[in-house]
C-alpha cells in the first residue's frame, strides 16, 4: 500500500482514494471473517474473548498505524483512514479497545510535547500498548472518581488532572464492570490514586480527545445504523405473515425509507466532519460536535426501530439487534451530552461568523 503524502502548501495530508478503497475492503473482509454473528454471540455469552482476538489480529495487520503519521511509524491515513476503520467496526459491532486506544493515540499526536510523543507514539503504532480514556472530555468534573473507557489490560488512561492539565495515568488493576454494551469495557478509576506517567496541556488535549472520540463515535454509529438496517430489511423480506412478506406492508416500507434517509444523510454528515478535520478547517469542530450528536441520535433511533421491526424475535438474546441498540445507547453518552455539544457548536458558529469567516462553505 502506498503511503500518503504531505502537501507542501497546506500541510494537510493528501491521500489517494484508491488506497483508501483498498484499505476499506481489507478491513471489511477481515471483520467479515473474524466477527460474524456467531463469534459476536460467543463473546456476548463470555465463551470467547473476541475483543482480545480482534485486537491481536488488528496489531498483526497494522490497523493501529492507520491514523498516525509516518514519522512515528504510522501509515498517514489520518482521520479519513480512521473513519473507514470505525465504520467497519461499527458495522460488525466489533468488540475491542479500538475507539479509546486509537483516539488517545491521535490526541497524543496532536497535543503532547515531543518527549511524550516519542515515548508513546511508536509503541502505540506498533500496537504494543492499549490506552483507556475518560468518557467525558469536559474538565469540570467535581468527583475524583471517573468512568474510563477501557479495562485493566490498558497500560494507562488519559484523563484531566485536578490542576487543569491532563495526564496519562497508570491504569489501576480494578476490574471492569459488565456493561449492557458488551463490546466495550468500562472501569471506574480514582484520579487521586493513580500515578501520572506523562503530563499533557489541558485545553489542547481535551479538545483533541473530544474531536477524535467524536469522529470515531460518529463513524461507528453510522456504520452500525446502516448495518442493522440492512440486516432488518433482509429479515423483513424473509418473514411472512398473512401469507406475504412483512416487507411488503406499506406502513413498514415507509418507516424503513425514512430510516434509510437518515442513514444516507448521516453518512454525508460524517464525511463533512472528517473532511473538515482532515483539511484543518478552523471551524471543523462545529461539524464534529453536530456530527457526533446527529449520528448517535440516528443510531439510537434506527436501532430501536429495527428492533421493533423484527417483532418478537427482536426481543430475544439470540438475535443481533440488541447488540446494536446497546452500543448506540453508550455512544450517545460518550464525550459529552449531545445537548452540550450542540451548545458548544452554536458558540463556535457564533465565533466564526463574528470573526467574518464563512463556516458553511463546503470544501
Amino acid at each position: 500500500m502506498s503511503r500518503a503524502n504531505a502537501s507542501a502548501e497546506t500541510g494537510a495530508t493528501v491521500i489517494d482514494d484508491d488506497d483508501l478503497a483498498t484499505l476499506d475492503k481489507a478491513i471489511s473482509q477481515v471483520l467479515f471473517n473474524e466477527a460474524g454473528s456467531l463469534s459476536l454471540h460467543q463473546h456476548l455469552d463470555g465463551k470467547i474473548r473476541l475483543d482480545r482476538a480482534l485486537w491481536e489480529n488488528a496489531v498483526e495487520l497494522g490497523w493501529p498505524r492507520i491514523g498516525l503519521p509516518e514519522e512515528v511509524g504510522g501509515l498517514g491515513f489520518g482521520e479519513r483512514g480512521l473513519d473507514l476503520l470505525h465504520r467497519q467496526l461499527g458495522r460488525r459491532v466489533a468488540p475491542g479497545p479500538f475507539l479509546a486506544t486509537l483516539s488517545a493515540a491521535q490526541t497524543i499526536n496532536d497535543a503532547a510535547d515531543t518527549e511524550t510523543k516519542s515515548e508513546w507514539l511508536p509503541r502505540l503504532s506498533e500496537g504494543e500498548c492499549k490506552l483507556a480514556v475518560t468518557t467525558q472530555t469536559d474538565t469540570t468534573s467535581e468527583s475524583s472518581e471517573i468512568w474510563v473507557l477501557g479495562d485493566e489490560n490498558c497500560e494507562a488512561f488519559l484523563a484531566p488532572l485536578t490542576n487543569g492539565d491532563w495526564g496519562l495515568l497508570s491504569m489501576p488493576q480494578a476490574s471492569a464492570f459488565q456493561m449492557w454494551d458488551r463490546s466495550r469495557t468500562m472501569t471506574k478509576v480514582d484520579l487521586g490514586t493513580s500515578e501520572p506517567l506523562a503530563i499533557l496541556p489541558g485545553t489542547p488535549t481535551s479538545q483533541a480527545l473530544a474531536r477524535h472520540l467524536s469522529l470515531g463515535i460518529a463513524s461507528d454509529s453510522i456504520g452500525g445504523a446502516r448495518a442493522i438496517l440492512e440486516q432488518t430489511i433482509a429479515y423483513m423480506k424473509e418473514r411472512e405473515q398473512f401469507d406475504r412478506p412483512v416487507a411488503s406492508f406499506q406502513a413498514l416500507k415507509h418507516r424503513v425509507a425514512d430510516l434509510m434517509t437518515l442513514v444516507v444523510s448521516g453518512e454525508e454528515i460524517v464525511a463533512l466532519a472528517v473532511q473538515a478535520v482532515a483539511n484543518r478547517d478552523p471551524d471543523a469542530d462545529i461539524w464534529v460536535k453536530l456530527g457526533k450528536a446527529r449520528c448517535t441520535e440516528t443510531y439510537v433511533h434506527v436501532a430501536s426501530d429495527c428492533l421493533q421491526l423484527h417483532g418478537g424475535v427482536g426481543f430475544t438474546w439470540e438475535f443481533d439487534v440488541h447488540m446494536y441498540l446497546n452500543r448506540a445507547r453508550l455512544n450517545e453518552l460518550l464525550v459529552a451530552a449531545n445537548t452540550r455539544l450542540k451548545d458548544e457548536a452554536a458558540n463556535a458558529l457564533a465565533d466564526a461568523i463574528r470573526s467574518g469567516r464563512q463556516p458553511l462553505e463546503l470544501a
Partner: protein, 406 residues
Amino acid sequence: MTTDSATFPLATDMRILSRQDDLGGFRAAVQDWLAETVPSDAIQQMIDADEKKGVRIQREWMAERHKVGLGTPHWPKDYGGADLSLAHQIILAEEFARTGAPVIPAFMISLNHLPGTLLSWGTEEQKSRYLPGVPAGDIWCQGFSEPCAGSDLASLRTRADKKGDRYVVNGHKIWSSMAMYAKHCILLARTDPHAPKHKGISFFLMDMGAPGVEVRPIEQINGRSEFAEIFLTDVEVPAENLVGPENEGWKVAQSTLASERGVIAFEYIERARYAVERFFAEALQNDAAWLKDDQLRREFMDQLIELQANRRLLRRLLRNNARKHPADDMLPSYIKLHGSIFRQQYSSLLTKLAGLEGQRFGMGFEEVYLPAMFTFVSSFSWTIAGGSNEIMRNVIAERGLGMPRG
C-alpha cells in the same frame, strides 16, 4: 440536419461565454456581470413582489441573462444554447445563489422539460419552431396531472380524438404551474381508451391561446396562485404537434421528467445556505432572544446540520450525473425526501422564532425563507408536488431497497 441558426436569437455580449475554456475566468466573468446587473435590493424586490410583478421580474431577468448568452446556457449550440458543461452550470448556480439573483421558476418547463422532450423525440420542425421562443421569453406550462390522476398519473382521462389532420382534445388538467402566463403547454392525453393505461397516452404541444382552452388559477394556502386548472373543450391540436409516435406518450414523458439533473435543486439549496447564514448573523447582531433559549438554539443547530447534509448530497448527485454511467439512481429520491423535510422543519422552526409578530399575514419570497409563516405554509408544495413524499418512500423501499410490492 442542422437548424438555420438565424432563427435563434443570439447573445449580444460575449464577455462570459468567451471565457468558457477556463473555469476560474468564467466564474470571475459571471461574478463581474452579476455585480453590475443584479440590483442591491433584488431580494427585497422579490419579497415585496406580488405574482404579476414576480413574473415581470422573471421575464426581465431572463432577457438580461439572454444578452450574455445565459438564457439557455445548458442547451446544445445548434438550438441557440451555449452547450455549457455541468461544471459551468454549477458555477452559475453557485454565483446566482451567492448574489441573490432572481430565480426563474416560471421558466422551469421552458428551460428543462421542453428541450428534454423535443431533443429526444421532437421533429426538426418542432424544435426549430418552438425552442427559439424560450430565450425570447416564452413561458411553457405542463398539462400532466388531473383531478383523478395525481400520483397515479397514467390513469389520466383527458382525451385526444384524431379527426383528419388534427386531434380534438377534451378534459381537465390541474396543478399546472404558471398556466395563466403560458403561451404553450406540453400535454398528455389519451388517444386509445381501450389500451392498458400506460399504452394509450400521447404527448402533444398545445397552443394556450387556442379556442376551448380555459385557465382558472388555484388559490393556494400561501395566498399565491402559481398553480392553475386547465379546462379543455373541443380544443383542436394540429397533428404535427404530436411528439413521438401516437400512444407512446408515456415513454416520451419519461424523457421529460428525467430532463432536470439536479442543478435547479442545487441552486435552491445553495440559496438556503445563504439564507440560513444571514439569519443567524442577523440574530447575533440583534442579540435575538432565541439564541439564549436552549431548546430553540439546539433545534436551529439540528437544522443546520441537515442543511449541510442536503448540500453534500446534491453535490454528490451532480458529480454522479457528470459521469457517463451514473451509478446511484436512488439519490434523487433520497434528496427529495430529505430536502423537502429540511425545508419544512427549518421553516417550522422559523415560525417559532418569529413569535406572534410572524403571525401577521404577509407574503414573501420562499428562497430567502421570509417571512417565516409564508415559507412554512409554502413548504407543503415541496413535500407534495413532484412526487409526494409518500411516493418517494415507496420508490426508495421498492426500487432502492428491493422490498416487494404489496
